[in-house]
Amino acid sequence: MKYIVLGASAAGINGAEALRRLDPNAEIILISKDTEIYSRCMLHYYISGERSVSRLNFKSDDFFTKNNIKWISGKEVTEVNETEKTVLLDSGEELHFDKLLIASGASSRFPNIPNLTPSPYIVGVRTLDDCDRIKELSKKYKHAVVIGGGLIGADIITGLSHSEADIALIEVSSHMMNRQLDTYTAKNYQELWQKKGIKFYFDVSINGVILDKQNDKPEYIQINGSEKVKADFIVVALGVSPNIQFLKNSSIEKTQFDAIKVNHQKQTSHPDIYAAGDVTGTAAIWSVAVKEAIIAAHSMTGNELNMEDFFAAKSTMNFFGVPTMSLGQSNPSCNTMIPAIQNHEAGTYSFHSDDQEFDIDIQIDYKGNYKKIVHKNGKIYGALLQGDLSYSGILSQLIKENIDISKVKKSIFDISYADFFNITESLEYHFD
């Protein structure tokens, strides 16, 4: 059996590793444009200089030899011929496969904003090359603008805050990480960034990038009609789109979002071609990519593995040593203003969302740790914790599995696995 895996990030590497484990004698080839194995989730540590390339590696240095996987790096796949079952490389080489795993990931998305197109001064953040470019630009130029205040934008301003550049962030919503955070938790971070000199522009409409006509270098970004934000270079952090350029002549089915369509077993419309990770257009989350790849590897080797967990509205973050976790509907619309909360006063507070649909409980302890739980009728729908995340994994399980907590007779902030304790024959835990 000959497997080819495309891509060397979360899905590709973990998929290849799982294939080796499940089929010890197969021939496995991994092809990637990347010439290093690195965790894209740690790129901001590379920008800040806190980690070298080798410390971005999420597998051991001997990964390929240990797993007896042939790695063709620095080459791009230009075409997949599903009838002949071959992949064509940019070097002209053509390789045959019995089964193919496409884990080619995604690229930074550049939305339709006048002059906001990739250039030596306008970059996304997806690869080591992008980061090298950002590092170079931040040494050479003074005014950096990051567009997009999501998790990636937040990572980038943190990484860049170590540089000499003046940094501005432009975001269309009212605060940082609008999808994950409420105003309380966002403000805590924003104040820390502001102390590092980062300037924020919220609730902004972006009109376009004004370029220096001589050399195509940006001069400023025009926002809100007439306002100008000085920009020598621009980092675009507005989400990703799947890397499927090499499938343009292929009959492999795509979704309406131009991602590869897969079934539960991660099989594409072609029975010998599978796909996993960002290229399938599911949530761009590390664990989702890893699990999809492991499921695909099982299917490809004639095994079956069901891991239905693709609850994606979840994230953790850590800026300046302040941890935060956001789960599910962590910020239902709520105009109730409780001055004590705004003043960070310790206590517990209960109120409702504007539509009265959810009960919201907030606890602030004497150290300032913030815990918010959104629930209704004995079920938890969202949670937002900042400062102390101890033992909070239980909350993701309760939300994901829609577990009834009405039998728990203690404060909602103190629920633990003790309340659902059950041990299986193989001595694993299982929710009772």
């Binding site: 953790t316 976790m325 696995y417 003790a418 001595l427």
Partner: protein, 136 residues
């Protein structure tokens, strides 16, 4: 592989396991805990070293990995990027960050580095509420 079995009926909540964990790792905090359930049962919450470990699947730095030989889920602090995804991913709420630096994840290692190579929580439990057993 081996796992630590838990018999809640025998546990008296003396926390000797918690203390032995701290001592075994020369640490400031323990990697295990005993929690009272709402029906007042002492419930030791110890890492299961799961067959399908969520903390490993979610780890983007490579710090968490499943050792194919022992079956243990190991944690490499040097590789850890303190992103806390593992804390969020553990369905049983076993993991936490350390209180002082908030950089390290407190994760059971089955005392593989202890001179006895034997889990000290089990060794010191006066009630045999926790025992070290071979599974499958």
């Amino acid at each position: 592989m081996k796992r630590i079995n838990i018999d809640r009926d025998k546990c008296i909540g003396c926390l000797t396991c918690v203390t032995s964990c701290i001592v075994s790792h020369h640490a400031e905090e323990s990697r295990n805990r005993v929690v009272l359930s709402s029906n007042r049962k002492n419930s030791p919450i110890f890492c299961r070293h799961c067959d399908l470990p969520e903390c490993v699947f979610t780890c983007m730095s490579g710090a968490m990995s499943k050792d194919p030989k022992t079956g243990y889920v190991t944690y490499n602090q040097k590789q850890c990027a303190s992103c806390y995804m593992c804390i969020m991913a553990c369905p049983y709420g076993v993991l936490k960050e350390d209180d002082r630096t908030k950089k390290e994840i407190l994760k059971c290692d089955m005392c593989t580095d202890h001179e006895t190579g034997f889990p000290q929580c089990v060794a010191k439990c006066p009630m045999t509420a926790i025992t070290f057993e071979e599974v499958r």
